[in-house]
Point group: C2
Chain length 363, copies 2
Amino acid sequence: MTDVSRHGGQPSRPAPRVRLVDVAREAGLSKTTVSAALNGTGRLSAEVREKARETARRMGYRPHPTARQLRSGRARLIGYVVGELADAPWTFLESPYFARLTGATAATALERGYAVVLLPVGSLQGEWAELPLDAVVVADPVAEDRIVDDLLAARIPVFSDRSVEGRPGAHWVDVDAGEAVRASMEHLREQGARRPALVAPDSTTRFHTAVFAAYHEWCAEHGVPERVVRAQAPGNGPVVRAVETALAGGPAGGEERPDALFVVAEASPPLVLDAARRLGYRVPDDLLLVCVSEDTTAPHTVPPVTTVSLRPREVAQAGLELLVAVLEHGRQEPSGTLVPTTLDVRASSVRHGQTAWTSRPPT
Amino acid sequence: MTDVSRHGGQPSRPAPRVRLVDVAREAGLSKTTVSAALNGTGRLSAEVREKARETARRMGYRPHPTARQLRSGRARLIGYVVGELADAPWTFLESPYFARLTGATAATALERGYAVVLLPVGSLQGEWAELPLDAVVVADPVAEDRIVDDLLAARIPVFSDRSVEGRPGAHWVDVDAGEAVRASMEHLREQGARRPALVAPDSTTRFHTAVFAAYHEWCAEHGVPERVVRAQAPGNGPVVRAVETALAGGPAGGEERPDALFVVAEASPPLVLDAARRLGYRVPDDLLLVCVSEDTTAPHTVPPVTTVSLRPREVAQAGLELLVAVLEHGRQEPSGTLVPTTLDVRASSVRHGQTAWTSRPPT
DNA sequence: GCCTTGTGCGGGAACGTTCCCGCATCAATA
DNA sequence: TATTGATGCGGGAACGTTCCCGCACAAGGC
């Protein structure tokens, strides 16, 4: 048997979509009336409204989203790009921070009636030109990327970090990087650290430049020599190597080894802990450890690792609040919000005899 | 000064979008001609075509995506839902497997000209009803969820795992769970394991039911008693507790302890290793360990952990190939593909004296 | 009984694009 | 010089919805 021979010889055509006019004709009403009935607008008698609704329900009517969009002018669709890790696109989802940021952005957006579409970095106009985007969220753009410029040129509102401050059409939400560094360094100093080292990625993100600046400033203020090692690439391998470099001591191995480590580059906490052990450190006795990380393993290691949370959920929520305000109420100012970070102190950064505390109450 | 007093007293209205007719009028042509010129269609003289293009470029014309969609009938937009972890929505992104699957889906889709929009589980029709979705990818649906039914009822093509096999409008790509289990168990047996235990999540996903079934069958075939511990919830905490339960021995503590562990529930490899150590096991001497995991920490632990990769990238690619075939060429069969898994053997599952190998050549 | 006000519903334009035609123009052929 | 055919371009409908209006009718005030 051939495939045209079933169902009366027709190859089962798609069965046309049921439109508003179809419902109207069936109910003996006009499309205007049915539209008003379904949308709850207009001046209609209760009977007609119910009649229209019942008919629509019975016929399985579903409004055509695209036609709606064309009328209303807005698609309730927002793009989402993360600018960091541009050379290895999409790996950002493997970072716990961006995974949370992405999930929280999508969730918050949906609550507000917007859908989130995932886009690649690299400012490939071709990708998003076809999409009816009401706005684009650009998470942590790198200095070299032209994506923000391209979007603004296309008159698409941009929501990003503080690096876009002051540009018309661009709005920002950012994490308080300076405060995060100062709080962490202060905590380490209080716990007795005298030679704190910093491991951070070699990145042009505003967050990371702010981290370097704040660390530099803090060291200068406290007369502490800077010990900075930049991870040459993202991922556990390169970051662990950077940690090993930082913990090995000075370039010639002659300097005193650090007694505290502040890891801003994302790495798995247990792996950082292992690296310290391999180099002969006991944590926290010989080395106080603080990681900027959203990794869920941090509380489960031995000892548990103190972390700084960048609050991706709150960043996403603040960003979307701003987005909704701008898009729906035409607000232009204030264009920025600063989200505070959280220091979750655990055993890895607490000298013996001290007791761990956290900046938010345990739930 | 008030904010109405700048730029000539006008509050700087949005500046209307430049449309096709605007370009046509400016160029002294018709919209039909300009449209044909820009799309490379129709019969036009070289001069007119260039004139239209130049004018469009000069005026910064950008076609209205929604209007295009309305004409063409398709939005080139596909929804993406992951059904597992439905009670804690969006946490799926924190799982390395789903993070990779999501990224690969988005990337492959974009290459094929489709954009991916992130959707929540729970089959809340309200969320996606407003969206012009050409299709929806439902990753690992749980048995209880009605999302697949709802989508099919709305005549939206569904791409999911094998659990949707045979349903009209639904297509599937799946991972070869049975083969993954058999290969892992066989590997453990070859390395001397006699009392292999299984830790897997308490989930109704097709993948996990297939894992339980294959393990059950393998044990029966080889006359090995089953040792199964189900993790009561996702996340490192519950899974590590399940690992501890499995390694502690029988319910009364009277049985012999396992000599091999097959962890299918997603957990951080270093944490699993730590748990084994805490219970007095040396890996691989006392315990052979294999984890089903895409976690990037696995090669960096001491010893490195043998993993089974479920090949999220390949699953995503196969799925999108199928999607494009169905959507663009109207193909209906074959509706399914099975993607093989990979066993990356590392030191954690190799007895001393043996040398590690991997099922794909090192790159 | 006339003018006003309010109610209930429908006609038709508009959103911006694509695409089917049809109308010119012009060269080639009878 | 008429007929054909190809070429170059434009008019207008269509996609499916929302929303501005206008019309018919009823009720109320003078």
